[in-house]
């Protein structure tokens, strides 16, 4: 397992270097950051001087090498638009995005798995069909539209929930949390539903199809033949066997939840990294974009690693020891 972990970490570094290189090559074309940094009537000479100062005129590989060396020391430079160290900026936005993503993922799991189990076991029941239909709606409308409709309903019309922002946050060192205040929790509801709906659908459908397969396996048949109770068969024997693919997909999805948060954060003006990234793209804030992409890649890699380690927990067949006789 140690070897496995080390290997994954090495791979992870490789992946992140590739991500960094790709991002860097692309950034050249995203636009001219200098334009965004100065007002309209700044002269060409001043612009050129600034560009030189920023090192934007160096070859990509030189810029890349510089970036990697600094990034290794957790220095991602200074944001062009905010004139602040990128690490600080992202650090302040990270809690918002992580809280939103985790709550959404939790929501997706807590609703998705039971619904998936239910629909898998009761293929033809009316409730199953209802669940399936609702879940399909979740992937049939674009996220932003769902968000806007939720705002329209719950904020503007009913005025139950806030339409934007995180509400009041409580700081613990650099971490700020909205989970401890009423307004923070209220503010979390609409965005996390918006963000989680899609994942919930995915998980539910995945669990359902896995369930359908697992309950047809020999060991489930054998469990039935031994007269075990329905509950034990479904929730102990069957569910555990559906977990491996569910873990995989959930892991992959968690990565994309963080990416999808771009949309949700935009709609709800959620002060997270996604919003920051979008602003950076619009303003050609290369240091922030680079750091964000690296962070996404890093989170993805970490999640993948956790997923792989979870396999070991769930599936004894993967544990290192060999079959003995």
């Amino acid at each position: 397992m140690l070897a496995f972990t080390i290997r994954r970490l090495l791979q992870a570094i490789g992946v992140m270097l590739v991500v960094a290189l790709i991002s860097f090559t692309l950034f050249r074309y995203v636009g001219d950051p200098v334009n965004q940094m100065v007002g309209l009537d700044t002269s060409l000479e001043q612009r050129e001087a600034l560009r030189e100062q920023l090192g934007l005129n160096d070859p990509v590989l030189v810029q890349f090498a510089r970036f990697v060396t600094r990034a290794a020391q957790l220095d991602f430079g200074t944001s062009y638009q905010f004139r602040q160290p990128v690490v600080d900026l992202i650090g302040r936005r990270l809690p918002a995005t992580l809280e939103l993503s985790l709550v959404s993922a939790l929501l997706a799991l807590l609703c998705g798995i039971p619904m998936g189990v239910y629909t898998g076991l009761n293929r033809d029941s009316l409730l199953s069909k209802l669940f399936l239909s609702i879940s399909l709606l979740g992937i049939s409308l674009p996220t932003f539209f769902i968000g806007i409709l939720l705002i329209f309903l719950f904020s503007v019309t009913l005025q139950w929930l806030p339409s934007f922002g995180r509400g009041e946050v409580v700081d613990f060192g650099w971490w700020s949390t909205g989970l401890l205040t009423v307004s923070g929790l209220k503010a979390l509801i609409l965005p996390s539903i918006t963000l989680g709906l899609f994942q919930m659908t995915l998980i539910m459908r995945l669990v359902r199809s896995e369930m359908l397969e697992v309950i047809r396996t020999d060991y489930i048949k054998f469990a039935r033949a031994r007269g075990l109770s329905q509950r034990s068969i479904h929730f102990r024997h069957a569910l555990k066997n559906t977990l491996v693919p569910v873990i995989t997909i959930t892991g992959l999805q968690l990565g994309s939840i963080i990416a999808f948060a771009i949309i949700t954060e935009t709609v709800f003006q959620w002060p997270g990294m996604g919003l920051l990234f979008l602003q950076s793209v619009q303003n050609v804030d290369i240091p922030v974009m680079a750091a964000y992409l690296m962070l996404i890649a890093f989170l993805f890699v970490v999640i993948n690693l956790i997923v792989d380690l979870l396999y070991f927990v769930v599936d004894p067949r993967l544990r290192v020891e060999r079959a003995s006789h």
Binding site: Q11, I22, Y29, S140, F145, S209, A259
Partner: protein, 315 residues
């Protein structure tokens, strides 16, 4: 193997067979939902394909638009113009025609990107699965890197690049390809992984060994023997990806990366209409949104049914 499958299911492989088997048709005819979704999908495809002949107006023809006709409500509401069944948008475009033309673009983006993703994914998956070893490892590492870039990020980056590279060209033309490329780029991995998985199984099957035995070159074996036998799940993924691609396109349009509003897709129509949601012109967003939801829902249901119908374990 269940006892009954000994008796009844003579064979559980081969899409061609299963499609030809009237089982498929039967399960199709029996499932009202599948029928209905197929009907809707078909209607959408026909409506989209023949939009120029079906639509009462040409929303892309700027010369025929009159800004004076903008924001007319749909029929049945006060101030409606009988020429515009579902009202008009802020540019005076007929919403109904816009939906037909928009569906055309949405479907085109969906089909082309999924096709591209499928071709790339299937080929890479085949090669990875069949050749194995280092080739396999490299392809799968690429797939892993790809996975860390969700479609949204890819589209934002590619769009930026394209704007810089083709900036002076006609955006209407390349916006389509940007979308197609970004969506295809993030979708191919799933095809590749699935095909690789099935290929790993198929390549050890004896019919492949029989072909190797008579000296058929690997490439031909992959194309002639393996490919037709791994294409079943591809079809399912393709259907589900189609719905996802249409939605992704719509989402990207929200970020301003989508199809330009002069030739709007369904998603772009929703995005435009979004701005009028609070001002009372709900029809500009809701009708295209409804159309989009119905279309994607139909495609997804079709995919669902296809998956269940093609999954021998569920029969």
């Amino acid at each position: 193997m269940s006892p009954i499958s000994d008796d009844l299911a003579m064979e559980r492989r081969g899409l061609a067979f299963r499609l030809r088997q009237s089982d498929m048709l039967h399960s199709f005819l029996r499932s009202k939902i599948a029928m209905l979704s197929a009907l809707i999908t078909l209607a959408a495809i026909i409506g989209a394909t023949f939009a120029p002949w079906l639509a009462p107006h040409d929303p892309f023809d700027l010369a025929s638009l009159s800004i004076l006709d903008s924001q007319l409500p749909p029929l049945g509401m006060e101030g409606a113009d009988p020429r515009y069944l579902l009202g008009t948008d802020d540019q005076g475009r007929d919403v109904f025609s816009g939906i037909l033309y928009g569906a055309r673009i949405s479907l085109a983006v969906g089909f082309v990107s999924v096709l591209l993703a499928a071709v790339v994914g299937v080929l890479l998956g085949l090669v990875a699965g069949y050749v194995g070893g280092r080739t396999d490892a490299i392809i799968m590492r690429i797939a892993e890197v790809q996975l860390t870039f969700p479609a949204i990020l890819i589209a934002l980056l590619i769009d930026g690049v394209a704007r810089a590279v083709f900036g002076n060209l006609d955006r209407e033309r390349y916006a389509f390809w940007i979308l197609v490329l970004s969506i295809a780029l993030s979708f191919w991995v799933q095809f590749a992984r699935t095909v690789r998985g099935s290929t790993l199984v198929e390549r050890n099957k004896e019919y492949v060994q029989a072909a190797r035995l008579i000296g058929i070159p690997p490439f031909l074996i992959m194309i002639r023997h393996v490919l037709p036998n791994v294409i079943g799940p591809v079809l399912v993924i393709a259907t589900i990806s189609l719905g996802l691609a249409i939605i992704t396109e719509a989402t990207l349009s929200f970020l301003g990366v989508g199809i330009p509003p002069t030739q709007p897709s369904l998603g772009t129509l929703v995005r435009i209409g979004n701005d009028f949601l609070f001002s009372g012109e709900w029809w500009i967003a809701m009708f295209p949104g409804f159309a989009l939801a119905i279309l994607v829902l139909a495609v997804n249901l079709l995919g669902d049914w296809l998956r269940d119908a093609l999954n021998p374990k569920l029969r």
